[in-house]
Structures are given as C-alpha cells and as structure tokens.
Amino acid sequence: MSCESVREKLTAYLDGELEGERGSAVRGHLRGCDACRQIAADEAALRDGLRSLPPLDPPASLWAGVQSRLAAEEVKDAERPAWGRALTWLRPRALHIGFATVALGAAIVLLVMKLQRDDEQQVAVKPPIQVPVPEIASNNPEPPRAGQCNTTPSDDKDVSAAIAAEPAAITACYAQTVSELIEVAKEARGEWPADRQRDFDIELEALQEKVVRATDERPRQQAYRKMIRYLQRAVVRDDVALANLGGQQ
C-alpha cells in the first residue's frame, strides 16, 4: 500500500470506518512508515483538540436567514410546471441513467453476437487442433521446448514401447522445468552482486555437468531434480535474511 493511498484513507481510518482487511492494511502500513504515522498522529491530535473545545451556539440571525432562504426555494418550486419538477428530479441521476442505457445496449449486442456464433458452431464443427509431439532421444539432456511436458507417452504405441519411452519422457519434463527456471534465474541474476553471480554460475555449471555425465535416465532425473531445487532456492531466496542455505539436495 502506498503512502498516498494510506493518507487518502486516513480520515476514514481514524473515524473507525475502515473494517477488516482495509483497516488492517492501513494499520500495517502505519506500523512500517514513520512519515505516515506522524501524519496520523498529528491528525488524531488535531481531532482531540477540536473535541476538547467548548460547544459554540450560532447567533439567532443565522438560523432565521437559513429559514427564509428555504421558504423562498419552496415558493419557486411551487411556481414551476410539473415537467420542470420532473427534470429537476432527473438531472442528478442523468449520469446513472446514461450508464445503464449504454450497458443495456452492450448486453443486447453481445447476446445477439453469441447467438449468431452458436448457430455457426452448430453448422461447422472445427477439427481438433493438432499439437506436434517431437521424438525425445533417451540420452539427450537437451531441454525440450516449453508446453510439451507429458510423462505418459501416447496410448497408440504398444505397451512395451510405451514403457520403454516413459523414462525419457519423465526426464524431458524435468528438463523443461529446469529450462523454465533458468529463464527466471537469468532475469533475477542481473540484480545480484558480482560474487553471488559468480557462485551461481559455478554451481549451475557443476549441476549441468552432472546431467551431461549421467549414463542412464534415473541418474539424469536425479541430477535435474537437484538443479530444480537449487534454481528454486536461488530465484525465490534472492536475499537471505537469517538462515544460510546448506548444500542440501
């Protein structure tokens, strides 16, 4: 929550009109922002000061003046024709009526369009979209492109071929996740200090080396899992507040 928005809500907050999360958000901001807290304290002090002032009675001439003005307005209203009084009633509501008319018009247009589209769809059924699925080499640690992660190979293969292809498909899913995390890490890396960037690069290279050196799918999957864990930590915990990271899996 910004200071500006907090200051806008400050009067309502001090009046006790902000309930639940809104009040809690303002309270939370005031806890952390010295400037806003000072303004809130000044405002509260001003209110306390005003409350402590003795009550002031207005002069009798003020009330008489107000009454005479009201009487004059009532006489004007009575002299105005009926259609004029109706216009007077409509004038403050003109904006609402305008919006309502536009919204109703838009709803009718959308309804007509939808009905027309439904009719078209009933006539012509579109063919299903064909998503190309590339062949995944069993010993290829190269991460595939995003959006192709499926651990279960297609059911049109024979069961023995499907089972044989499954480990590579699982590896591909891990590789895809690593690839996505590396993209996120690249963005975050730019804001890190030089020594942290260097450590990250060294660690990532070592983990990639383990993936390349793996001779089977299972060790390769394990190496990818380690990379995922490391990248998640590196990206999410971009600064370490209290507890240092260990060399866990």
Binding site: R31, G32, D156, K157, D158, I228, Q232, R233, V235
Partner: protein
C-alpha cells in the same frame, strides 16, 4: 472370471430396458454411464493373481526395491522376516496377460528386487498401455528400507521403520507411519505424508504436497507449480519452497530451530506455537506482511518481530516475492 467378448451382460440389458421405460434424459444418461463402466471393465476382464513368499537365507532382508511402470504399488511393513509379494495382472485377453512379466530377484546383499515389464509385441496386434496393468502389494519386514518407482500408478508406503525413496511420474504418492529418512519425488503426482518420524524430503514439479504429523529433525519440501500444506509439524529445520503455490504451515518452533518458508508468487501463511523457554525471531517480506499483534521493526524490505525472551531462539524467515505473508503465534507451551 472370463466372459465371451462382445456378449451383452445381463446388467447392461437391464440398464437399457430401464432407460427405455423411463424415457427421460437423466435415466438414459445414467444407463449410458453404466454401460460405459461395464465396457471399460470388460476391456480388462482377464485377471491373474499370484502370491509369492520369499524367505531370507539367514539375516532378514535389508531392502525391498520395486520398479513397476504398469500399475499401483503398495508397501506395508509387518513383524515377520519374510517378504510377501501379491500381484494382480489385468488385461483384455489371455495373450496380452501372457506378455506381462514380473521378475523377482532376491540378492545375496540383502535386497529383494522386483521389476515388471511387458514383452515386446508379437506379430499380432499391439496392446495399448491403458489396456493392461499390474498391481503389486509387498509386505516386508518393518526394518527393511524401501525403494519404489511407478509411472502413473498409485504409490503407497505404510508402517515401515527404515525409511526409503518413492519416485512417481504422475501417480499419487501416499506415506503413512514411516520412520527413517524419507525421499519422495514426482513430476505431477500429489504427495501426501502422514506420520513421518524421520527426515523428510518431498519434491514435486506440478502437484501439491500435504504433510501431517512430521517430527523428524529436518523437513524439506518443494513444489514448483503447486501448493504445500503442513500441519502438526515438529521439525527443527524446516524449509518449504514453491514458485506459484500457496504455502500453509502449522508447526511447533523448537529451540535453535530454523524455519524458512519461501514462495515466488504464492501466499505464505504460517502459524507457530513455541515453548515458553524458546524465543522466536520472525522476519517477513512480501507485498503485504502481517506478523500478528507483536510490534515490528522495519529492516529494509523486511519486517521483524521478536517473541519471547529465551536464549535458544528459533529463526523464522517468511517470504513471498509477489504474495502476502502472514504469521500468527499460537499458544505458548509451558
């Protein structure tokens, strides 16, 4: 057990009659669903059950290892020395069921290895993977370690005392009442762990992790695209990480503990109870941070609250780069 293929079943005929007499859409829908279920079961109506009991040559078996890409696996601990393996093969035809193989190798090193596979297709028509399955139930000595891998089948481990590793592609992993170091990982299968008494490491790429009654020294869990929910956790060292999913944790802060809960986009909600002699230093960072009613100090992007005054403080680090962070202290244990 076998029924001639294509022959109408009495249940199916009854369902069709029912739909015709009622004539309403709901009835017809139910009947169609019923027929679909019947035809689905009819496509895998040949089953073959087997039971093997393996006796250890001398010392009890130290490890049970299974790799089953064709179905579910359940591992249960028992008080005996033998390893009992029950299998159920299912397929549409006798030919297909003959192709399903289970191999059992008791190694002299104290490991029982079980693997399943399907023989390559003969010249006859190929069999789809979804048309066959092998479910395996292993009853092993409690003291044996387990190592199990499945594809899309369910993977369960229960009442084991020496820990193990569970690996799944898309099948759900469930663990109940396990001691020892536990590693579970999946690509898209959910992970549910109840009553783990050793260190736990749970990781999934795109599913959820649910943890209940975890009391090992160390708990590490991560979900790249999924939620993590932990309750009744009593680990000294806790590290939960997600990229997109919400993290909720209800735990007890132990003396000199370290609790790190971090998410990139998900909200972080942590409730901790502490012992009277344990102080807590809680730091939070997020788009909105609520560390409860305790006064907070602002330290750059972080807010810090100190609870209690004991010497053995637990450090709590809560962070969500694009989400809310909420902390609540539960009861103080005297």
């Amino acid at each position: 057990m076998k029924r001639p293929r294509g022959a109408p079943s009495p249940q199916g005929a009854r369902a069709t009659r029912f739909a015709r007499t009622r004539g309403d859409r709901l009835g017809l829908g139910r009947a169609l669903l019923f027929v679909c279920v019947l035809s689905a079961t009819a496509s895998a109506d040949v089953t073959e059950k087997s039971r093997v009991e393996v006796q250890p040559p001398g010392k009890p078996y130290k490890q049970v290892s299974i790799d089953n890409s064709l179905g579910n696996v359940r591992i249960e601990g028992h008080d005996g020395k033998n390893v009992i393996i029950e299998t159920i093969k299912r397929a549409g035809t006798d030919e297909a069921i003959e192709r399903l193989r289970i191999s059992l190798v008791p190694d002299p090193d104290g490991t029982v290895r079980i693997t399943t596979h399907a023989d390559p297709s003969p010249e006859s028509k190929p069999v789809a993977r979804s048309a066959v399955s092998i479910d395996v139930v292993i009853r092993a000595p409690r003291g044996a370690r387990f190592d199990a891998t499945v594809g899309s089948g369910k993977l369960e481990a229960k009442n084991m005392d020496a820990g193990g590793e569970l690996d799944s592609a898309s099948g759900a992993i469930t663990v109940d009442n396990v001691q020892g170091e536990l590693y579970t990982h999946s690509v898209s299968g959910s992970i549910t762990i109840n009553k783990a008494f050793g260190d736990v490491d749970a990781a999934t790429v795109s599913s959820d992790v649910a943890l209940d009654s975890i009391s090992g020294q160390k708990l590490v869990a991560s979900a790249n695209d999924g939620k993590i929910a932990g309750r009744r956790v009593r680990s000294r060292d806790i590290e939960l990480t997600t990229m997109t999913g919400k993290i909720t944790l209800e735990a007890e802060a132990l003396p000199r503990g370290r609790i790190v809960v971090s998410s990139m986009r998900g909200d972080v909600e942590v409730k901790l109870r502490r012992q009277a002699q344990t102080a807590m230093v809680v730091r939070g960072r997020g788009t909105k941070v609520d560390l409860g009613s305790t006064p907070v100090t602002v330290l750059g992007k972080w807010q810090e609250a100190k609870l209690g005054s004991g010497g053995e403080a637990t450090v709590v680090e809560l962070r969500s780069n694009h989400g809310f962070v909420q902390f609540l202290q539960l009861a103080v244990i005297q």
